[in-house]
């Protein structure tokens, strides 16, 4: 396709209507796509195929001929990435093949469901602590600031082995990174402060290890010479960023969804064993990675009957795949009882599927069960239309969620 045509393509990323945060894409944008695989104009130049059907997204994300390496020329970049590749030495979400699996395999055991069960009491403690602090502050209160944001960052503190004395420092700076009010200079300063802090922490784990992820990786990988300290630092930053904003936005949007459908909140309060099924439907319905997952074709490949040529980009639209009527009956309906909810791809698909999903599920489950139990009179002090939405963020979320009880 020649460049003159690119200007006529629908501009991507799409954003949902301001009237309802649970509608991932405006109908008018979808109408402009020519077929199940349509072409869209990218924010930093060029164009890509937009892949929207469930089966096609599965095919694309499982296909070995597509790269995740954002530093390859022609990659369909959707969000700003570190300028220098050296700064991304451990950012294995942007890697392919052996380079990717080398890092991923150092972490898979850490995030296994049986290991996450071991830290579940810490998640419970974190959730209860945040909720009781919120109670002391209000009513009213901002559920995003007092609950949705602190729970995942405290959980990551526990996981990485950040000492208690440093939790406030860690929270403060990771908050600044996620804060939509932060300018680029503030984000950079916070990243620098956290990077410096984690680099020192990694050094400290050499001499005084604890029962935590960083200590184990230092002892098992860094000291034997399999992993450099800068790579571990970069991995730790990735875990922080990937595990914080995504989970925080899921907690906030899940709370809003349950306040919108209070019968399901009541049902959860009456029977906490409903939580796992409810969480799967929330993951499907909310899908915070709204811009989708970009890939670059390294060879000619056919996806959903469309030939994608070597050098062309494609974006897997998780949010639309999760509303595919051929897989999910009445896909626009929020239905925690639906049997097929677990077929959602909110965590992606293929080799790069979210490694932290057992942790995310545990955090969501505990957060929602305790919220329902401890705040039986919880109400939103906003509406779906008025609640501030962060459309342009890497993961979709709410700017704030005013609640009362």
């Amino acid at each position: 396709m020649g460049s003159p045509d690119v200007a006529d393509l629908p501009a991507f990323p799409f954003i949902g209507p301001d009237s309802n945060p649970f509608i991932p894409v405006q109908g008018s944008d979808l109408e402009r796509l020519d077929g199940p695989l349509g072409k869209v104009r990218l924010p930093f130049g060029g164009w890509a195929w937009l892949v929207t059907r469930h089966e096609d997204v599965r095919q694309l994300l499982r296909h070995p001929g597509f790269s995740s390496d954002q530093y390859r020329p022609g990659f369909p970049v959707l969000n700003p990435i570190p300028q220098k590749q050296e700064d991304a030495s451990g950012l294995f979400i942007f890697m392919d093949g052996e380079a990717h699996s080398r890092f991923r395999r150092m972490l898979t055991a850490e995030f296994m469901i049986k290991n996450i069960r071991r830290i579940e009491p810490l998640i419970e403690e974190t959730v209860v602590d945040a909720l009781e602090k919120m109670r002391a502050l209000g009513p009213p209160a901002d559920l995003m600031a007092e609950f949705a944001l602190p729970v995942p960052s405290m959980t990551i503190c526990h996981l990485l082995g950040v000492p208690y004395a440093d939790h406030d420092f860690f929270q403060l700076h990771s908050r600044a990174i996620m804060d939509r009010e932060s300018g680029p200079a503030e984000v950079e300063a916070a990243l620098g402060a956290l990077g410096g802090f984690l680099a020192e922490l990694i050094k400290a784990k050499r001499t005084s290890p604890g029962e935590d992820l960083l200590s184990r990786l230092v002892a098992e990988r860094v000291i034997p010479g399999e992993l450099r300290e800068d790579e571990l630092l970069s991995m730790a930053m990735l875990l922080l960023v990937a595990g914080h904003e995504t989970t925080a936005n899921m907690i906030g949007l899940s709370a809003l969804a349950l306040l919108e459908f209070p019968e399901h909140l009541d049902a959860l309060r009456a029977d906490p064993s409903l939580a796992p099924g409810l969480v799967e439907e929330l993951l499907r319905y909310v899908t915070v990675v709204r811009t989708g997952l970009p890939r670059l074709a390294l060879e000619d490949a056919e996806i959903g009957g469309q030939l994608i040529r070597e050098g062309e980009g494609a974006v897997a639209m998780l949010s639309l795949a999760n509303r595919d009527g051929s897989v999910f009956k009445d896909p626009e309906l929020f239905d925690p009882q639906r049997k097929e909810a677990h077929r959602h791809m909110a965590f992606g698909f293929g080799l790069h599927q979210c490694i932290g999903q057992p942790l995310a599920r545990a955090e969501l489950r505990v957060a929602l069960v305790e919220l329902a139990r401890r705040f039986p009179g919880l109400r939103a002090e906003t509406t779906l239309a008025d609640v501030p939405k962060r459309h342009m963020a890497v993961t979709f979320g709410l700017g704030e969620l005013p609640v009362t009880w």
Partner: protein, 73 residues
């Protein structure tokens, strides 16, 4: 129907979906976190959840072949 399950640990990316879906059949080893099998011939009652695990596996590392009882081989 009798069934036989196979897994490819070279493909496995340790997402753990199979362990959530069919914990009676799948596990992850303690050092690498990659898929292991508790049993290779799941009884009929478990075959549906294994089928689901095959579908949910992000990398297609699980396979199940079914045979009518009596036709061994």
């Amino acid at each position: 129907m009798s069934a036989r399950v196979t897994v490819d640990r070279d493909l496995c990316c340790g997402s753990g979906n199979c362990v959530v879906t069919a914990p009676e059949v799948f596990d992850q080893d303690d050092t690498e976190g990659l898929v292991t099998l508790r049993i290779t011939q799941p009884p009929a009652a478990l075959q549906e959840s294994v089928e689901l695990a095959v579908q949910l596996c992000p990398v297609g590392a699980i396979d199940m072949t079914r045979q009518p009882v009596g036709e061994k081989g």
